[in-house]
């Protein structure tokens, strides 16, 4: 049963990720992206990471992709998004991805197994940096966040604050310089183009 769900959801995730890349329409890409994130959340469930699965659906499929869809709608990019990528781009991207796939296939087919035995052979670091005990309950998350990862947790909170302030500053309309009669960089460019 586990196997069946693994194959189902990994196929779903990978196929929708492929459609994200290949869809010419940005809105379609975003919607396929949501499906891909939900598929990943299902894979997290199969890996016993229940809390992360919920977080994935709430944060990624919920907040982040709604933000993306909102911006796509706001910017009205559809009229200019039909530009076909040129041949050099397609060839370069395909070569890069084929190299990546070749390296991955080489690793997996030549039996470089990352089994639990080889991973357990990693030496333990002295001084409290040893790995934490595994648990599936979300209680273990809270415990880890408030003991071993206290400093990164605080830094993450501060990062969110910085991001919030930064977004507010960025989205404020900077009308001061334009209303004072000074042309913006875009207008200077356009006047140069029209003169030449």
């Amino acid at each position: 049963m586990h196997d069946f769900f693994f194959y189902l959801f990994s196929a779903l995730t990978v196929l929708t990720a492929l459609l994200v890349v290949l869809c010419p329409n940005a809105v379609n890409s975003a919607v396929f992206m949501i499906v891909s994130f939900v598929g990943t959340a299902a894979l997290f469930l199969l890996l016993d990471a229940f809390f992360l699965a919920i977080l994935q659906v709430l944060v990624y499929a919920g907040a982040v992709m709604v933000l993306f869809l909102f911006i796509i709608m706001l910017l009205d990019v559809e009229r200019s998004s039909r530009v076909r990528p040129d041949v050099v781009t397609v060839v370069a991207a395909s070569v890069a991805v084929l190299l990546l796939a070749f390296g991955m296939g080489y690793l997996f087919l030549t039996g470089h197994d990352a089994t639990a035995a080889t991973m357990a052979a990693v030496p333990q670091v002295p001084g409290g940096a040893n790995p934490m005990e595994y648990a599936t309950a979300s209680r273990a998350f809270g415990y880890g966040l408030f003991t071993k990862y206290m400093l990164p947790f605080q830094v993450a909170g501060f990062l969110l604050l910085v991001a919030m302030v930064g977004v507010i500053v960025l989205s404020k309309r900077l009308t001061g310089s334009n209303e004072a009669g000074k042309p913006s960089a875009q207008e200077i460019r356009e006047s140069e183009v029209s003169q030449s």
Partner: protein, 102 residues
């Protein structure tokens, strides 16, 4: 018990990462490039959770928590930058954003 091991999950994660990479190189729309970057972050999350599950340690799971936090902050700031860029240049295609190239 299931026969799906760590390698299968890592293969899926690598495939997702490769697809995100492909999208970043191939697509010309800044918003779609951004989405493909999220795809790559997501692939790394999957690999970390798989390692954490099969290695019986909690640290990978906690790391994913931080990656999700940073990715959310990054999306907010990045989309604000894209909106500011669109206001200035009226385009989100990377071909037309070539002010530094000549």
């Amino acid at each position: 018990m299931s026969t799906v091991g760590l390698n299968a999950y890592l293969f899926v994660a690598g495939l997702l990462f490769a697809l995100g990479f492909f999208g970043v190189l191939l697509r010309r729309n800044t918003l779609v490039i951004y989405m493909c970057m999220e795809l790559m972050l997501n692939a790394v999350n999957l690999a970390l959770v798989a390692f954490s599950r099969f290695n019986r340690t909690m640290d990978g799971n906690l790391f994913v928590f931080f990656i999700i936090t940073v990715a959310a902050a990054e999306v907010a700031v990045g989309l604000a930058i894209i909106v500011a860029l669109y206001r200035k240049r009226r385009t989100v295609q990377v071909e037309e954003l070539n002010a530094l190239s000549n």
